[in-house]
């Protein structure tokens, strides 16, 4: 128990106070950030499990071996063998880990092969834009038509038209990235077929 409690508290209160300059806080924050980054990096490290063979080998090395040793100065000799066993275990673990990483997980075998095939150029003709202007014209008339607007299916049909337009654009965009191919053209044909049916339906409601 403090005898002069009041005097002590008064003295503490009269002590000068200092505020740390901002760069100190910055430095602390930086250190904390780098700790967090380190923790994050540790978390994102890949985990590997050693194959059964490795554990079997370790087990074999850990099995007690009967070693004949002289009675004199036995403890020092025991220590020596103990350290040798530990060193051997560590060496096996390291080499097993290295073998595991290099052989089973990360080895990529890359080959480049060239062959030949035949394509039919007629199948790659892009002719769907020919009717685009009339399709858009009908869609525009439908969107503005008072008669169409009073139809129950007005917004459904417009939404459907928009969905098909977007789908067509997606395919065309993909074709720009991956090059012209018959499967893209087949998909556009399917979309165009649906658009044709839809536009005909729109035309009847204008």
């Amino acid at each position: 128990m403090e005898k002069n409690k009041e005097i002590l508290q008064k003295t503490i209160r009269s002590l000068p106070s200092f505020e740390a300059p901002p760069q100190v806080w910055d430095a602390i924050q930086l250190e904390l950030d780098s700790d967090q980054k380190l923790q994050h990096a540790i978390q994102s490290l890949p985990t590997y499990e050693a194959p059964a063979l490795v554990w079997e080998q370790i087990e074999k090395n850990l099995e007690p071996k009967i070693i004949s040793m002289p009675l004199v100065d036995g403890s020092r000799k025991n220590d020596k063998y103990k350290w040798l066993a530990v060193a051997a275990t560590v060496a096996i673990l390291l080499s097993a880990g290295l073998w595991f990483l290099t052989t089973l997980e990360t080895q990529e075998n890359i080959q480049i092969v060239t062959t030949e095939e035949t394509i039919y150029e007629q199948l790659l003709i892009e002719d769907w834009e020919e009717d685009e202007s009339i399709i858009q014209e009908v869609a525009q008339l439908f969107a503005q038509s008072k008669v169409a607007q009073s139809s129950l299916h007005y917004s459904d049909l417009l939404e459907e038209y928009q969905e098909l337009e977007t789908a067509k654009e997606t395919i065309e965009d993909m074709m720009k990235q991956y090059g012209k191919a018959t499967d893209f053209i087949r998909q556009i044909s399917k979309i165009e077929l649906e658009r044709s049916t839809l536009v005909k339906q729109m035309a009847t409601l204008i």
């Binding site: 994102s44 985990t47 997980e105 092969v113 394509i119 789908a167 993909m174 991956y178 090059g179 191919a181």
Partner: protein, 302 residues
């Protein structure tokens, strides 16, 4: 028949064949092979673009990946150059094996002269969970038994003998399933579904599509919500199921022999139900809007 007429007919028939111009192209393929160790808890995560994805199973505790990146062009040098536009990833991060092909943002600027594509052949243990995201392509998956999730666009899917938890989302693609058994959830839009010999519990939401479903006594439950779709439900014995059907502005064709009870039967709304005599039965609940539903006895699967 005069000879001149025969000759002109022959030429006329031959003409379309002559006008079909054939071009020989070089197919340059970069083949990447990689093997990963498998243990329980590991998931294979595939993100394909313009890719054919083939997934098969084996008894080994390994996941083998063969990724082929393909470029086709009449000139080999052009094909080889364009091949480099397609990037790939085949890596393991913690419990996930990520496989991906894509075109990087800088390569997206120009258009390749070649036709580019990718093909994955993945062989893995049957209990390995798989997540597949595929845009534009094809997926052939067989014999998985644990967990399969698919999110695809413009992709045709062939699933054979798949068990467990299935979650499939498809847009502008078709799904052909044979022997799917488990807890299945399908959300499809502008996709056709052909499901043959389904087993287990199915929850299906379909929008704009043709659905052909073949069910037998292995079905546990089927909940189907179809909008602007044509649904065909086939079974060798339609009387073994309980039915709860609602059709709004849709055509409904049911087997007369079952004696369905109709709660409502107006041009805009039809509600029909049927309960079999046996104590245990599978429930089929179907709601259809602006489409058609046909329940039909059919002894063989399509």
């Amino acid at each position: 028949m005069p000879l001149s007429f025969r000759i002109s007919t022959f030429i006329f028939l031959l003409l379309p064949m002559i006008t079909w111009t054939q071009t020989s192209v070089k197919v340059v393929t970069k083949k990447i092979e990689k093997t990963f160790n498998y243990r329980s808890g590991i998931e294979v995560n595939i993100e394909g673009e313009k890719a054919e994805v083939n997934i098969e199973t084996w008894d080994k505790a390994n996941i083998q990946v063969v990724l082929e990146i393909i470029a086709k062009h009449p000139e080999q040098q052009v094909a080889e150059k364009d091949l480099e536009r397609v990037r790939y990833l085949a890596d393991r991060v913690k419990n996930k094996i990520y496989l991906r092909n894509y075109i990087s943002n800088e390569e997206k600027q120009g258009t390749p002269e070649s036709s580019l594509s990718a093909r994955y052949t993945i062989t893995l243990p049957e209990d390995c969970p798989v997540y597949l995201k595929n845009n534009f392509g094809l997926a052939n998956i067989s014999n998985l038994s644990n967990n399969l999730r698919i999110n695809s666009q413009f992709t045709k899917m062939n699933l054979n003998n798949i068990q467990g938890e299935l979650d499939i989302r498809t847009r502008f693609g078709d799904l052909v399933g044979n022997g799917i058994d488990g807890n299945v959830s399908i959300n499809s839009r502008r996709s056709n579904l052909y499901l043959n010999e389904i087993k287990g519990t199915f929850n299906i939401q379909a929008h704009y599509g043709v659905l052909e479903i073949f069910a037998d006594n292995n079905l546990l439950d089927l909940n189907l919500d179809a909008n602007k779709s044509d649904v065909f439900l086939y079974s060798p014995d339609p009387g073994i199921f309980s039915y709860d059907l609602t059709a709004q502005s849709s055509d409904l064709t049911l087997p007369n022999s079952l004696g369905f009870k109709f709660e409502d039967n107006t041009p805009n709304l039809t509600k029909a139900n049927y309960k079999p005599k046996q104590e245990v039965y599978a429930n089929i609940a179907i709601t259809i809007q602006l489409g058609s539903l046909k329940v039909k006895k059919k002894s063989k699967s399509f």
